[in-house]
């Protein structure tokens, strides 16, 4: 690979941005505006605790009764304890109510009989007494409601509280939980948007044909694009992360370089995805139509709003293919859980595989330019 030619292409992209100040401003300002809004909306941290219930469905009587209690919301139900605890460790939940804690202990049709020897268990992360008591109190109240407000003789059974250590310490604030998702979404959105449009222009203006008739190689073109867009992706990620950390006090419990590595791997893949997909668009309007197609499934299925483990099995299988799923999972593990390289290695490997596949796709697409 010729460094001078690759550098020239990267510099050309940087110069293009320098002349196109409106785009440059959008790269920096739009994420900040969104971050300010998110900070305003969730920054006070007074929202409900997110509770997962094992062994019950969302429409079961207990879950509906539990969900009616103040300060808690059942955000997911699970069929096994391991998935629920994994979601708790990932920061997707604040607490888990295990199966033994409700329908198997209380039998409403019989007028509220507490099965003898049954000890309901709730699992919480960290040592936050307020969180424990809120989740436990909600259980007590929900159980009482299920038994028509009649507390059985001997009272309700004592709850067993199982505290698991969260690697990052105490329960994360909402903004800390949202920051990895935001920075991933912006890195994906802007890198994809700018690369695909830039490459479409390269094709439609004839400059790509001129490049392909020159000594530059296809690998140098892809590398030049990557180097050209990386600084802007880095500036944007720095702004979003910086705002979240400094202004909104989002936490980064793990090594910062690992956050950067995750984002760099994501951007490498997305630059090449943008190049490859731009080949299938004839104009900028068509490229814009790719954006929701590429981003929305990843936003909805990538664990940004709902834990991936709670998804319907086939959708969970699909979400594993998404780079956003792995980037968000890895960033949450590093930023919230303080985890290290070994812990996020599977996610990093997935991002490396995604990047490699997209580079391959980029080379294929460039080859097809030569009829």
């Amino acid at each position: 690979m010729n460094v001078s030619r690759t550098g020239a292409l990267a510099l050309r992209i940087v110069r293009g941005f320098r002349h196109d100040r409106r785009t440059l401003a959008l790269v920096a300002i739009v994420p900040l505006i969104v971050m300010v809004l998110i900070g305003y909306l969730v920054g006070d941290d007074k929202e409900s605790l997110r509770v997962g219930v094992v062994g019950a469905t969302l429409d079961s009587e207990f879950v509906r009764a539990y969900d009616r209690q103040r300060g808690v919301t059942v955000t997911a139900t699970f069929t096994n304890e391991a998935d629920a605890v994994a979601a708790l460790r990932d920061g997707d939940l604040d607490g888990v109510v295990l199966g033994a804690g409700h329908e198997s202990c209380i039998h409403p049709p019989d007028g509220g009989v507490v099965i003898e020897g049954c000890v309901p268990v709730i699992v919480v992360g960290g040592q936050d007494v307020q969180v424990e008591s809120a989740i436990a109190q909600a259980w007590q109240l929900a159980s009482a409601q299920l038994m028509d407000q009649v507390i059985p003789p001997g009272g309700l059974p004592n709850l067993e509280i199982d505290r698991i250590d969260l690697p990052g310490g105490e329960r994360p604030s909402t903004i800390s939980y949202a920051a990895p998702a935001m920075v991933t979404t912006f890195a994906f959105l802007f890198t994809f948007m700018l690369t695909s449009v830039a490459f479409l222009r390269e094709r439609s203006s004839g400059t790509l044909e001129r490049l392909l008739a020159s000594p530059i190689t296809k690998a140098e073109i892809l590398a030049g694009y990557l180097l050209g867009f990386l600084p802007f992706a880095a500036i944007q990620a720095t702004l979003v992360l910086g705002y979240a950390i400094v202004i909104l006090h989002a936490k980064v419990a793990g090594p910062f370089w690992l956050v950067v590595l995750v984002l760099v791997l994501l951007v490498v893949g997305v630059v090449n995805l943008g190049i490859a997909l731009s080949f299938y668009a004839r104009n900028e309007l068509q490229v814009i139509q790719f954006i929701p197609l590429m981003l929305l499934p990843q936003v909805f299925l990538g664990g940004l709003f709902w834990p991936v483990v709670t998804l319907w099995e086939p959708l969970r299988a699909v979400s594993v293919l998404f780079p956003v799923t792995h980037a968000v999972h890895a960033l949450r593990a590093v930023m919230l859980g303080g985890q290290g390289l070994a812990d996020v290695a599977p996610d990093l490997l997935s991002l490396v595989l995604f990047a490699a596949a997209m580079i391959g796709l980029g080379v294929l697409v460039l080859r097809r330019q030569r009829a």
Binding site: S4, R12, S205, A213, A371
Partner: protein
């Protein structure tokens, strides 16, 4: 003009699906000449130029450029001027020149000097720091030519270089092409403007992906017993000439 061959195409075929863009095209372009490919739109002129530039792989037949198969090995010695001004609109002429110079391995003072020389030659010095999107159509074409010439190529491929520009600028451009030829550059130029045939050393009539005849304008007119180059082309194409 030497007798050496800059481009040799033999029975070149290129199909795009059911379309035969090149249908057994054979042609030799001598080193140091201006050869004009003349024919209507869709005749296969641009496809041939793109095959010479290594942008199109032949379906059949062979093409040799400066003694080699088209590709990266020879790309550094070829200058390619596309039909529309293939320039970066956000960058200035100077930045475009600098970029394409580096792509062809030119950097530092050598690149700067060559850029200044071209800008003076094409009378673009005053516009050098203006972004391309602020230039007129003619100025863009001049800048386009400058970028194709930045690395002093031995072979210049010009795909309809004078489309959409005024007669005065067209005359200037042809003046530059002639000067380059005099300095030893081989030029293969496509056009469907018959007036430009007289400015070429030789012309090749191209229709339906084949070369109908090659020679000087005078030779072609005489062989077709025609009054003009245009008449000669039409007679040949319609089978009116012997």
């Amino acid at each position: 003009m030497s007798d050496a061959v800059a481009i040799r195409a033999d029975s070149l075929v290129k199909t795009f699906g059911p379309v035969r863009a090149l249908d057994g095209l054979s042609l030799e372009v001598r080193a140091g000449e201006i050869l004009g490919l003349i024919g209507p739109n869709g005749a296969g002129k641009s496809t041939f130029i793109r095959a010479v530039a290594g942008l199109v792989s032949p379906s059949d037949g062979t093409v040799e450029v400066l003694g080699e198969r088209p590709g990266r090995a020879v790309a550094g010695r070829i200058g390619y001027m596309t039909q529309s001004a293939a320039l970066y609109e956000d960058l200035s002429i100077r930045e475009n020149l600098s970029f394409f110079g580096r792509i062809y391995g030119l950097a530092g003072p050598a690149a700067r000097d060559r850029g200044e020389q071209l800008l003076a030659l094409l009378r673009l010095t005053e516009k050098v720091d203006r972004p391309v999107h602020e230039l007129s159509g003619g100025q863009r074409q001049l800048a386009n030519l400058a970028c194709a010439m930045i690395h002093e190529p031995r072979l210049l491929l010009l795909d309809e270089p004078t489309v959409g520009i005024d007669p005065e600028l067209r005359r200037r451009l042809w003046g530059e092409f002639t000067a380059l030829r005099d300095d030893g550059t081989t030029i293969l130029v496509t056009t469907h403007v018959m007036d430009e045939a007289d400015r070429c050393d030789r012309i090749a009539f191209v229709a339906d992906g084949r070369v109908l005849d090659v020679g000087t304008a005078r030779e072609l007119v005489a062989r077709a017993s025609a009054d003009s180059v245009e008449d000669a082309f039409l007679r040949l194409r319609d089978g009116g000439a012997a």
